[in-house]
């Protein structure tokens, strides 16, 4: 006799690919759990149409722009991105007939450039040694000079965290009665702010933990500290912990996800998993949920899955996440 299905059968039926964004699975990673009673769950955002969590954000940014009347057919959209948001926006813009220009640091992996071109985006490169700060600075400057351009500005647009407050967060709540800790990457801050706010509303004791990239020195090309940048949507008081992860550790843990759990994920996911396991280690029992942001395909050319970490020449000069 067949066992009854324990979760939703099939992935659902949708009118087009944009509508199929979200509703991603939550997968338990038993081998990474440091002790019985502490369960680690990966939310597989790589299962979105363009392969990253940014599909949610891109859809929300575009719909927000359309609702405001700022975006219409034939318009040009410009956005600073290290790749994933650009790729997600490119897919949606291609479907909707909008022109897209992305400003991206030249220090990203080759696959991101390929994907952007495949989806029809125009790329403007910012200086690699300034990381994402440089891309933001250049995009803000370009948008200011040309009023026909609309910049959704994921770093400051509330539609970004709202996508997670309304989507990612409720999906987690639907599957788990208890979440002791939620761990995500700190990029724009959207996931942490949106999911964090939603989880804390239902479970005030849930710890919201940020894993952040410790950018390699070659991409810290700031003239002064005043060149620093803090995304406007980040409210640090919502965070319970904020822990940086070196590129080396991120790569090691990305391999660990693959080798121990069969999960082929990107570098930020390895970093987040490392922090999730550390948090799990401090607990006696409960659920720890962490985000797998994207899949490993767009990092293949870097060699991180096949070569020892100490042989990765571009380890510190690449903008991994």
């Amino acid at each position: 006799m067949k066992d009854p299905l324990l979760n939703r059968p099939c992935g659902g039926r949708f009118g087009d690919i944009v509508q199929s964004i979200g509703a991603t699975p939550l997968v338990e990673l038993k081998r990474l759990s440091p002790k019985p009673g502490v369960r680690i769950w990966a939310k597989l955002e790589n299962r979105n149409p363009t392969g990253s969590i940014k599909d949610r954000v891109a859809r929300a940014l575009i719909e927000d722009g359309e609702e405001k009347g700022a975006i219409g057919p034939g318009m040009t959209i410009l956005e600073p991105t290290s790749g994933n948001t650009g790729i997600a926006l490119a897919m949606i813009c291609q479907r909707k007939g909008y022109n897209l220009r992305v400003v991206m640091p030249e220090s990203v992996t080759a696959e991101r450039t390929q994907l952007l071109k495949m989806y029809g985006a125009e790329i403007i490169y910012s200086e690699g040694n300034k990381g994402s700060n440089g891309a933001v600075e250049m995009a803000l400057d370009l948008a200011e000079k040309d009023p026909s351009i609309y910049m959704p500005y994921q770093y400051g647009n509330p539609a970004n965290p709202l996508a997670h407050y309304n989507g990612t967060g409720p999906e987690i709540l639907e599957e788990l009665d208890e979440v002791s800790a939620f761990v995500a990457g700190l990029g724009t801050g959207g996931t942490l702010m949106g999911v964090g706010r939603r989880l804390k509303e239902e479970m005030p004791d849930c710890k919201i933990v940020a894993a952040e990239p410790m950018q390699g020195e070659p991409v810290q090309g700031l003239r002064s500290l005043e060149d620093g940048f803090i995304p406007p949507i980040i409210d640090i008081s919502l965070l319970d912990r904020k822990i940086f992860v070196s590129n080396r550790d991120a790569v090691i843990w990305t391999r660990k996800l693959l080798d121990e759990e069969g999960l082929f994920a990107g570098v930020s996911s390895g970093a987040i998993a490392r922090v999730a396991v550390r948090i799990a280690d401090e607990m006696d029992e409960g659920n720890v949920v962490f985000i797998v942001c994207d899949d490993g395909w767009r990092y293949l050319s870097s060699g991180i899955y096949t070569r020892p970490v100490d042989e990765i020449e571009s380890l510190e000069s690449t903008l991994w996440w």
Partner: protein, 91 residues
């Protein structure tokens, strides 16, 4: 004594060193000790009101002190303090 990692943007102010030693029982004291040894860092690390410059992130080992006890965060012997500029994470 704690060791303090200096980011590239601040190294000219500490004679080019990547890592320096500083004494103190909490982050505030460690940073003051740094400023005393290297006065050129003062206006970069602290604002006019004596609070941490908003574009400076300070980590005790690998945890941002702003999410711990701020400048009151205790520092023990052998702890590693890391100063990093505020950089937008990837997206």
């Amino acid at each position: 004594m704690a060791s303090v990692r200096i980011p590239p943007v601040l190294r000219p102010s500490v004679g080019g060193e990547r890592e320096v030693e500083a004494a103190g029982s909490n982050i505030g004291e460690v940073l003051q000790s740094l400023v005393t040894s290297y006065p050129a860092t003062k206006d970069q690390i602290f604002g006019a009101d004596g609070a941490l410059n908003r574009y400076v992130n300070v980590y005790l080992n690998d945890e941002d002190v702003r999410v711990l006890d701020g400048l009151e965060t205790s520092v023990g012997d052998g702890d590693h303090v890391v100063i990093l500029p505020a950089m937008a994470g990837g997206s």
